[in-house]
Symmetry: C2
Subunit: 430 residues, 2 copies
């Protein structure tokens, strides 16, 4: 059973702070092991990559190499359940439509002093997507990472995915094809990240790497950060459901459990102003748990990290919502907009009683790669902007330069940078 | 003397690749030392911060604490050279005007299936700015980091700056006041980064930390990444000047040296299609070097990392430009737009012969915090977006949910997530 807090109790602040501070992930100390792998792949390339893949994935390199051939992708696509393929195509179209609205506009203008300024956006030329193997190998995540990259205009989109014992989830290949991924390699772990960052004989380097992975993958991404760009390091998933008393407890319990079934480190929190509903949801969770195929995972998550918080009135939830800064926030109330306008920190908000978070996982159209572990305080979900970069432009006429020169020279001199001052002054015979 | 390459020579590709691969920074292995400092400040707070500040900055904590008081800021402002203060105010106004155009628009809409979607932007509530001490303590950098944060709407903008032997550059305080910084603390190094990330008794934690620093600061930022957001790790600065034969070699030499005087690890590169100009610029550099106060630094940079590349025609420069992916790119040609449209990777481009890069350092209006060390291939200069975050919104009516449900349930089942499927199905009695 999850913990139960009431905002009216004397020790609420201490217990709420403890809930926020709870460390949900055991951070394995893999730093040194990963450093060795990354350095090895960097210096020995394909030979090292083949060794690690053989060792960790029990997948010796086939004669054709790591690359997944067109026939294998085609075969996976044909073998996949047609209804599931249709669902992936439906999801892709919705994700594409939503993300197309995120494309930034170039901005060029001339200001009052006659100086031309600008910001122009270009796609990153080559991007790598990491897809985990095994149970966390989700075709939906392939779409969520790849579609925005293609909307941005990334020319070379490279997917790496480990194939433990040589096996790949065919739906992952189907999703990659639907999303327009350009190259797929059956490699994973820190060795795949190193291959993407530094390149090997068979895998040309990329400039940015995105996608979730285990502790080794996360450590490798940290280590190559700077050589390439990376996305946020994803932590375990979480949902915060804010509900008034006019909800079906079974619906809310289902939403809490959808989060909990992901991972024993996932977190599901309910905040309500109705103590009776709180009890009913707790009961419904227990009732539904029994029937879940992933009961063990969901029960561990709910027991260890689940929480039900009863507040006197829903407005009291607002500061708690901002402090939790949840990856997913459901507002199961009559007027969610009234709460929304005062909420600052959340990765994605699901408004009203008929918008379960799961819709956003698959077919809402918005991205399901969202900031976890309270990082919605300072970061955003994946978007088209993550696959583009902005160049700033500046152009002075001789007259414009004359307007700006005195202040520039003054500041250069104040900073002790004489060559800076000279670079401006020499053009004006100053 | 810098290296000299000709694109027509047989070994050009090898030598150009070596130029790109050259490691300009000795990466000190400070990881472990920094880990100790960060952990110590995290667990002991102000006491640890005071000890490290006393030890590294030789600056014992005054009775009033680390915080710089209003009187000290006021006094610095009054003591500063009035012309320099005016120049800072001029720069601030231009930076403010340019960055105000970067504020993203919220986007809310209803699609053809009746699903409401949205992306809404909010400012990060609390941000820390690191300002280096000593010679690299630039007031212009204070403006470049602080003004976009304030344009974004950051409520609590906290600056940390080491005061070696208790001394602070008064212009840094003046710039902070002009930019609207809310709190200033005289602390620096890894201990200041830890204080900002975890908070101490006197410094409340922030959610993101930006600004350049030495190897200790960079390592500390890497270590706290995840707990807080960070900006790119800045490397040594660089300029690439692309010039046709119709340039004054002295102007170009001045631009190359403006970069070189920053740091012995800075890099200045000239690409031209005119071999005579190439020689003239090389001579002009030597001539100007003698008169520079920072001759020693500039000479080391130019000798170790400077390069002059002669190409047969300027269009040949395009692939080189994209591979160098310079922080600063000057196009000293008649028609810079003709080149610009085919350039993909550059932090900032300075168009035409009358736009020395230095203008962008101070008063152009665009940001001078730009991607270094070839990272313009995947990242952008500092902008208002770095101080904001996006929340996505989703709202389904009962009818809308019915439209999306079948695909969502199909994908959830394909991924083996029964509780996901149930969370959608339960709302439709499926």
């Amino acid at each position: 059973m999850a913990i139960f807090l009431r905002s009216s109790e004397a020790d609420f602040e201490a217990r709420f702070a403890a809930l926020l501070a709870a460390k949900r992930e055991v951070s394995e100390d893999v730093e040194r092991a990963v450093r060795t792998i990354v350095d090895d792949v960097r210096s020995r390339g394909d030979a090292a990559l083949a060794e690690y893949t053989g060792r960790y994935d029990r997948n010796p390199t086939p004669p054709g190499g790591f690359r997944v051939g067109e026939e294998e992708i085609e075969a996976a696509f044909r073998a996949a359940d047609p209804q599931t393929v249709k669902a992936l195509e439906f999801a892709r179209a919705r994700i594409h439509a939503h993300h197309s609205r995120q494309k930034p506009q170039d901005d060029r203008y001339t200001d009052a002093l006659g100086i031309e300024l600008g910001s122009v956006w270009t796609a990153i030329s080559a991007v790598g997507i990491y897809v985990p193997g095994g149970t966390a190998s989700y075709p939906s995540s392939v779409l969520m990472n790849a579609v925005p990259a293609k909307v941005a205009g990334v020319e070379r989109l490279v997917m790496v995915v480990p194939a433990p014992d040589g096996r790949l989830n065919p739906l992952v290949l189907a999703a990659a094809r639907i999303a327009g991924v350009d190259e797929i390699y059956k490699v994973g772990g820190a060795q795949a990240i190193a291959a993407l960052a530094y390149g090997t004989g068979t895998i040309a380097p990329v400039f940015k790497i995105v996608g979730p992975g285990n502790a080794y993958v996360a450590a490798a991404k940290r280590q190559v950060f700077g050589t390439v760009g990376i996305d946020m390091i994803a932590g375990p998933s979480e949902v915060l459901v804010v509900a008034d008393g006019r909800n079906d407890p079974d619906w809310l319990a289902a939403d809490l459990l959808a989060q909990a079934e992901h991972d024993t480190a996932a977190q599901s929190i309910l905040i309500t102003d109705d103590a009776t509903l709180a009890d009913e949801v707790a009961e419904a969770v227990e009732r539904q748990l029994i029937h879940l195929p992933r009961q063990e995972t969901a029960r561990a998550s709910w027991t260890d990290f689940g929480a039900i918080i009863v507040v006197d009135e829903l407005r009291q939830a607002l500061p708690l919502i901002d402090r939790i800064a949840a990856e997913h926030l459901e507002l199961a109330v009559d007027d969610p907009e009234a709460l929304l306008k005062d909420i600052r920190n959340a990765g994605a908000v699901f408004l009203g009683r008929h918008t379960p978070e799961v819709i956003g996982d698959y077919v809402g159209g918005s991205n399901h790669v969202l900031p976890t572990a309270r990082s919605a305080r300072f970061s955003s979900g994946l978007s088209v902007l993550d696959f583009m970069k902005r160049t700033s432009l500046l152009r002075c006429s001789p007259e414009g330069l004359r307007e700006l020169a005195p202040a520039a020279i003054r500041l250069a001199e104040a900073e002790g940078l004489a060559a800076h001052a000279r670079s401006v002054g020499i053009r004006l015979n100053l």
